[in-house]
Symmetry: C2
Subunit: 306 residues, 2 copies
């Protein structure tokens, strides 16, 4: 398998890696979002507000890291990287609405509907989702392969729609205040969060021409990584402070959400996340040194404090 | 230009044409929507509820008619036809929400959020939009032409997003209770309604291999048809009864919406719609007899009572 003599993982500078990729993503987002001045400006301001409020840019960085892990480069996948961030952002805007989680703050800033009103917030989410698919199609078309393009759109749509994020969100809402099984809890986390994280890694690898065994590795890695991410999120909601998180801490317990710590306890949750991170790294073995950034991102996902 | 000796327009049986195409669309929608039994059932029931409540199936029938007008057939464009109906349905579900138009009835039935609650209604709309893009990608990929597929997705995304339907809806909401210019009124109607109707005709013709002059004809026809459709809608809201319309009549005036009759008066609005229908038909001239169904649909759009 691929064993390019690149920087060994031990010396890998994740901070620098994330900073450079993040800057590329932020520039591309500014370029690809409709200008504030074009009609209707209120809609475009609302779209930009929530995208700019963005946190870690984890999903677009995973798209790029997925491409690099199979020998591709960031420029090849930039529209898709931005599209995944737009899909993530649309889901946060809709989740924060009064009819859903009713959140006033997100990443330390007022939520979209608190600034622009509910109607514009709903429509800004709709517009971001729509723009995301346009960008993915434009990006995928550059490969010149219609079946790759169709696989790409299908993979993202499945991860974002009723078989993925939206499906998970529905079960999450319907589980509030109820005692759910361990299976339902895993269903929520796998669909609500892990699906889009998995699709981000896979989309990057797919566009960059990954082989089917490389894509299989990405899928296994992405799934484990995505589930670990959500478990750590659940843990941080218990342990973190509102200041650190930039959103109301303790909100899960207050809303009687189905979470890992509530079901399995904090210690078992942490242990499960650690196992998943290890599984994610094992899945990357065939990719060799090219997957170093993904390994470092996996450790970051476990160790992060917000 | 194409002058196939098909049924002459005078003898064309629109009722039969619409019934057969509508039956094909309804069957395909049943097949393409996620099953009620698959998790999460509440989401799938909500998606099916509003799609099944569907009225005229105008947009999918225009996709089919667009394909046929360039020598294609319904089977070639069925996923895209269904996708356009899903996009239309998602927009109605979101438009009806309390934060938007706050409608309790649509097509004589309770609106989605009145039956399933606001959270599920928002998510059912999101899921329909997501599924629509997956279906369009699958359909477009069968043409084997990545640039056609990318044009197709781009055209639909532009018609549905901030440069189209969502943009129009934003300006519509922001214009409530205000005196708007004739230009703003046209902006709202062209974006909120005409864009998706134009894209339906064009998408069908594009997948079925229409030439660039045929696609140009479809674009001009669809734009005129779409604007006429919305003007007639405005007129029906003034003249129709709630029973005939299946939704609350007089709602536009009550909500102080920007409408053609409110701005130009009923008679001038009717005259403008007539001129647009004629323009739509003139645009179809190069397509000959194959465009007979679109011509008949144009007359129907003008003459309809609901």
């Amino acid at each position: 398998m691929t064993q390019d003599p690149q920087t060994p993982s031990s010396a890998f500078d994740l901070k620098r890696y994330v900073e450079t990729r993040r800057a590329l993503v932020d520039d591309a987002l500014e370029r690809l979002l409709p200008p504030d001045t074009a009609p209707p400006p209120s809609l475009h301001r609302a779209m930009r507000y929530s995208v700019r409020a963005g946190g870690k840019r984890l999903r677009p960085i995973l798209v790029i890291a997925g491409a690099e892990a199979v020998g591709g480069a960031a420029e090849q996948v930039m529209e898709t990287a931005c599209a995944m961030e737009m899909i993530h952002t649309y889901s946060l805007i809709h989740d924060d609405l009064p009819a859903m989680d009713n959140d006033d703050y997100r990443r330390g800033m007022l939520t979209n509907h608190k600034v622009f009103g509910e109607a514009i917030a709903i429509l800004a989410g709709d517009a971001l989702l729509t723009l995301a698919f346009k960008l993915i199609a434009l990006n995928g078309a550059r490969t010149g392969d219609p079946s790759l393009l169709s696989t790409l759109v299908t993979e993202v749509a499945d991860a974002a729609g009723t078989d993925g994020m939206v499906g998970g969100q529905v079960v999450d809402i319907e589980s509030e205040g109820k005692t759910v099984s361990a299976e339902t809890l895993d269903y929520i986390h796998m669909h609500k969060t892990a699906a889009l994280i998995r699709a981000s890694l896979c989309a990057g690898a797919l566009i960059a021409g990954g082989t089917s065994s490389e894509l299989g590795a990405m899928k296994r890695c992405g799934e484990a990584l995505g589930l670990a991410f959500q478990i750590v999120d659940d843990i941080l909601d218990v342990e973190g402070s509102t200041e650190e998180l930039g959103k109301t801490a303790g909100k899960d317990a207050q809303q009687q959400k189905a979470t890992y710590p509530a079901y399995h306890g904090l210690e078992a949750s942490r242990a499960r996340a650690r196992v998943l991170i290890d599984e994610a790294k094992i899945a990357l073995a065939p990719l060799g040194e090219r997957a170093t950034p993904i390994r470092a991102l996996a450790d970051f996902i476990f160790e992060r404090r917000s």
